[in-house]
């Protein structure tokens, strides 16, 4: 196999990435059982350079390769046909560069030209279509959901997204900043800003202090705790279990208010910066965080026990929105949702983050349904509370260190990749620089990009009234997908 093997947060020279003939690249991608984490094009003079990155979760390595496709070539034989994990990537690549994958099973729009698209339709007696959106009733973000049902039963759900057209990737090339990256997906502020900062630090070969590294990870885990608790409340709210909804909402506020004291923002905006972090966590503050988390853990334990011992709650959650291990794998699902289906991928541990060393990776008994999606959040909240405590311990041992290291200039003709396990899953940021040391291409992949299709599979053969419950369990991002 012709790949360049790299680590997470590493800079490599563009010239080191092998450029292979497209046909042999295609054969390689079909043959391998490593999952793709990136598959994107970049303008390369009269060619289009196709970069592909594969994750080897067992070895903790990332395999990068590329291929040059001349602009006169307008089509190629689809990879998805043989390896379904590429289905979203190929659709995106077609939309961005107009090179058509022939025999792609369902080549529909990702982020453009949704109006011209004809939705899948089911016909027959007593069938009906339910169309929701793109304007959401709760005025959240735009997304269109098309259900094909017979009576109450959903036969197919088609999800159409990409209505926001913000052009984030172009903005990141023109004028990258932490403020911009924090606004790409507002519920994963730390995941995004850490990925961006690590990427720029890798490209400029800046080494930041361990203190800053640990504070970033504490913030990442706090974000995970807060959002997971909020989601547990939202799941119970959707099945009208009032007690759970209210208790989790109150508990989540405690967590985000703690981060308000650290960084001045409940969503931890403004904490991360290229070269380090803007705010320190003092010994007093870490005491406070620990005592808050102890209280949070006690409340969450009690509430979860009560909820999971309530027959009405169990009856709603169990066997709702099943998605099999095989489907999750075929769809290339990642992160929290993959773990709730038994796929054990977690980039915090897979890619050997030194700051997570010595932290036990606990197993989870997946049941693949809404019940599993509820329990995995509880499990991860408990794990994250332990992780934060360990990290705070490490932090207090470090002593005084600079928070910000002034970053160097970006190295020319480089390629770097950064993966951060946000609460939803792996957030992948990739950038390349040109010969003047400027960013020439910036690629973002949110976990939602992989997982939206999983939601439509999960809803199949379920009651349409169970859709909100499944949707909350997945809790995917619109803006992370739309870009």
């Amino acid at each position: 196999m012709n790949y360049y093997v790299m680590k997470n947060n590493q800079r490599i020279n563009l010239l080191d990435i092998p450029t292979v003939n497209f046909e042999s690249l295609r054969a390689q991608l079909i043959a391998t059982n490593l999952r793709p984490i990136a598959f994107f094009g970049s303008d390369w003079g009269e060619n289009i350079k196709l970069f592909v990155a594969l994750a080897d979760d067992e070895k903790g390595e990332i395999l990068v390769t590329s291929s040059l496709i001349h602009k006169s070539i307008k089509e190629y034989e689809s990879i998805t046909k043989e390896n379904s994990q590429y289905h979203m990537f190929e659709r995106e690549f077609y939309e961005q560069f107009g090179i058509k994958p022939l025999n792609h099973p369902w080549l529909k729009p990702v982020r453009k030209n949704q109006d011209d698209y004809e939705f899948f339709e089911m016909q027959g007696a007593e069938t009906h279509q339910v169309a929701v959106g793109p304007i959401h009733a709760g005025v959240i973000e735009p997304g269109h959901f098309r259900f094909n049902c017979q009576g109450e039963k959903v036969y197919n759900l088609e999800i159409m997204l990409g209505y926001q057209h913000r052009g984030v990737e172009d903005l990141m090339v023109k004028n990258p900043s932490n403020q911009l990256v924090e606004s790409i997906c507002g519920d994963s502020v730390i995941a995004y800003s850490s990925a961006y900062s690590q990427l720029i630090e890798a490209l400029s070969e800046t080494k930041i202090t361990p203190r800053a590294e640990i504070i970033r990870r504490i913030a990442l885990e706090m974000e995970r705790i807060a959002i997971h608790i909020g989601d547990m409340g939202a799941i119970l709210g959707d099945i009208a279990y009032l007690m759970g909804k209210e208790t989790y909402a109150v508990t989540r506020t405690l967590v985000i208010n703690t981060m308000l004291e650290v960084s001045g923002s409940r969503f931890i905006r403004g904490l991360t910066t290229v070269g380090g972090v803007n705010f320190d966590i003092s010994a007093d503050m870490s005491e406070k965080i620990i005592s808050t988390l102890d209280y949070v853990k006690k409340t969450v334990d009690k509430m979860t026990n009560a909820a999971l011992n309530s027959p009405t709650v169990i009856s709603r959650l169990e066997k709702t929105g099943n998605i099999s291990f095989e489907s999750a794998q075929e769809l290339n699902m990642v992160g929290l949702m993959a773990r709730s289906c038994g796929l054990n991928i977690d980039s915090r541990f897979d890619f050997e983050d030194v700051y997570y060393k010595g932290i036990e990776r606990k197993a989870f008994r997946a049941t693949n349904d809404a019940y599993s999606r509820f329990r995995i959040r509880y499990k991860e909240v408990k794990d994250s509370i332990k992780i934060v405590k360990k990290l705070l311990e490490k932090l207090n041992k470090l002593g005084n260190q600079a928070l910000i290291t002034t970053p160097n200039c970006l190295v020319q003709n480089s390629f770097a990749l950064s993966i951060v396990e946000g609460w939803r899953g792996e957030v992948v940021h990739i950038a390349t620089t040109d010969e003047s040391g400027k960013i020439s291409r910036y690629k973002i992949k949110d976990p939602s990009f992989n997982n939206w299709w999983g939601l439509s599979i999960a809803v199949r053969n379920n009651g349409i009234s169970d859709f909100p419950l499944c949707n909350k369990g997945f809790d995917l991002s619109y803006c992370g997908f739309d870009l």
């Binding site: 169309a131 709760g138 109450e152 279990y241 309530s310 009856s315 709603r316 709702t320 909100p468």
Partner: protein
């Protein structure tokens, strides 16, 4: 006469307060302060001041439906027993007028919601219609059995159960109340059948049917839903309260039962999750079984073993 005027006043005010009290109970269990129990009245006044907007796919039926709905509810309430077990018009066959006036109001609201041509509202109507078909026969079986037992074919029979059947009457009353309570939960669109708090258009039943209504129409529809709850509660109160009570005691006991029912509904909503849609039908069917138990008990009393 005074009782009849009082009934009319109660009909206009109590439904709002019941809804307010249910919300207050839920707030209490959720450790929140909650809005005042008069909030539904303020909301009603606020909505009455707003201008109406009608979807362009609707016809005049959609515009008059809320008024027909309101007329049906008021008409039905003329025959329903309230304070002192007295109804405003007490005639034989009042039961049938009562049930079918409620039926007509539902029919009109189903038609109106289908008019909007919205796929959600179609789903809501189909669910609501399905529940009604299950509830209606069960309701008739319960009330008609009690009438047969008392040999009085007006709603007055409801408070003569004990007088006519002695200790067996207690059993009859318990089963009849269970029956009516399920009907109350379904008609009032409360947990575990429907959830008035989460606005998820794909899971709602009653709320989804009125998505296109606003302002005065919405105010009237909300009042009608609450009034239905009040009417069924007053049937329950009539079943429980003995005839012999003096006026003030009877009025106090009647209001106490309304408060109790609201608190029970609020507590149920706080304590359990909503049922899965496919299980709701099973839950509503329980009402039919209970109704048959009532009928059997009456038959036992009338014809012996």
């Amino acid at each position: 006469m005074i009782v009849k005027i009082l009934n009319l006043i109660l009909l206009l005010i109590t439904p709002f307060l019941m809804v307010g009290l249910i919300r207050k109970t839920k707030a209490f269990w959720g450790a929140r302060k909650g809005a005042s129990i008069f909030q539904p009245i303020y909301d009603f006044i606020k909505l009455m001041k707003k201008d109406s907007i009608f979807s362009s796919s609707t016809t005049s039926l959609f515009k008059i439906a809320p008024m027909i709905n309101f007329a049906c509810i008021v008409f039905a309430s003329l025959f329903a027993p309230m304070v002192m077990g007295q109804s405003i018009i007490n005639i034989q066959g009042g039961l049938i007028l009562f049930a079918y006036a409620l039926g007509l109001s539902k029919f009109i609201s189903l038609l109106a919601s289908m008019e909007t041509a919205s796929s959600f509202e179609g789903m809501g109507s189909s669910r609501e219609a399905c529940f009604t078909t299950i509830i209606e026969p069960a309701f008739f079986i319960v009330i008609a059995s009690i009438m047969a037992l008392c040999k009085v074919y007006t709603f007055d029979s409801l408070n003569q159960v004990i007088a006519n059947s002695g200790s067996l009457g207690i059993l009859i009353i318990i089963f009849a109340i269970a029956c009516l309570f399920i009907m109350l939960v379904v008609e009032g669109a409360r947990v575990p059948v429907d959830d008035p708090a989460t606005h998820l258009e794909l899971t709602m039943i009653h709320e989804v049917m009125i998505l296109d209504n606003c302002s005065q129409e919405l105010a009237i529809i909300s009042y009608c839903a609450a009034a239905k709850m009040f009417l069924i509660s007053s049937l329950i109160a009539t079943l429980i309260l003995p005839l012999s009570l003096p006026f003030w005691a009877s009025l106090g006991a009647f209001l106490a039962i309304m408060i109790l029912i609201s608190i029970i509904i609020g507590t149920i909503e706080s304590a359990i999750a909503r049922l899965r849609m496919s299980h709701i039908f099973e839950f509503v069917f329980v009402m039919s079984s209970l109704a048959l138990v009532v009928a059997s008990l009456v038959a036992l009393k009338l014809y012996g073993v």
